[in-house]
Symmetry: C2
Subunit: 185 residues, 2 copies
């Protein structure tokens, strides 16, 4: 099973949820370490059910479509525990925008910078969203929160650091490319 199943089980560990609700969590809770499509969530839930990792509670509704609430089973929890403690092999690196810089020697400064500005433009709102969440929790000492809260905050901190690195690098790169290209002409 791909990581997706385990990430879903991580969410189900705290509360039973429908596929629809899990999908909504994905736009918020896990978005900086895992993104996925709605269709993948339903497919993953099917496979998890086949394996007995989740049980389905069918809920008939009148105003809205019927729904299936997924409950994590003990066997699912066990599978999650094992996965959480298993060192994973390195992920594939995939940053096509770095390739665009790497090979961009023949482009104009505007073309190159256009690519980097576009990236800044979508990354910065995401960075600000994380900064906001980080500001709310950063001041509690490690000793005054639960282990789970501590770990969630730790990943949030990583997210903030990562986005700041991206922003700093992009801003620096844009300035230096501009200077370099002006110099050469």
């Amino acid at each position: 099973m791909s990581s997706l199943a385990y990430i879903l089980m991580g969410l189900l560990k705290d509360e039973p949820l429908t596929g629809y609700e899990l999908n909504k969590r994905f736009q918020y809770a896990t978005q900086f370490f895992w993104t996925t499509d709605q269709s993948q969530i339903y497919r993953a839930l099917s496979k998890m059910h086949e394996r007995g990792w989740v049980e389905i509670e069918y809920v008939v509704q009148e105003e809205n479509p019927n729904k299936k609430i997924y409950h994590l089973t003990p066997s699912g929890y066990e599978a999650l525990r094992v996965w959480l403690a298993t060192p994973l092999k390195p992920e594939a690196s995939r940053s096509p925008y770095l390739a665009q810089i790497f090979y961009g020697g023949d482009l104009t400064a505007e073309e190159l910078i256009g690519v980097l500005e576009a990236r800044l433009k979508w990354q910065d709102p995401e960075r600000e969203e994380l900064e906001k969440r980080w500001a709310e929790v950063k001041d509690y000492p490690d000793t005054e929160i639960t282990k789970a809260q501590f770990l969630r905050r730790l990943t949030l901190e990583y997210g903030v650091l990562w986005y700041r690195l991206q922003r700093d690098f992009l801003e620096d790169a844009i300035a230096r490319i501009r200077a370099k290209w002006e110099d050469e002409t």
Copy 2:
């Protein structure tokens, strides 16, 4: 076409190469922004040939298997240029190890730290390799190198900054998890 074809053309822009040689470049030149499998390179080259982006020079050898040297065509170069100047949509984030931290509240400190130490162990040699390459080029002023060298160095710099962030985060996380778990017991 996926980014792979363009990254291959970026390499072919400077010199015609065989699939075998391209594969070797991938373990070095591009490894921190793109990793791939040997089989993907041959498959991508086939597709690129169908599209007329590369031409094949057949070389018969006696001591070694025959080989095909791929030359970038003007139409390939043009496709590369267009891609390089096109802002790409955000890549999917995929960091399962962050998920392991995020959901790791029920694990022991040793289990959690084991995952992080394993990651440090494979990342640190890669970081050191990049640091070494960075040390060799970092002191030339931007004005004394070509645009292409400048951009290659810029991506290398990003790679170094990224690996340092990883190391700093992992070391800090390990220390804080250890402290927190000792505290709770």
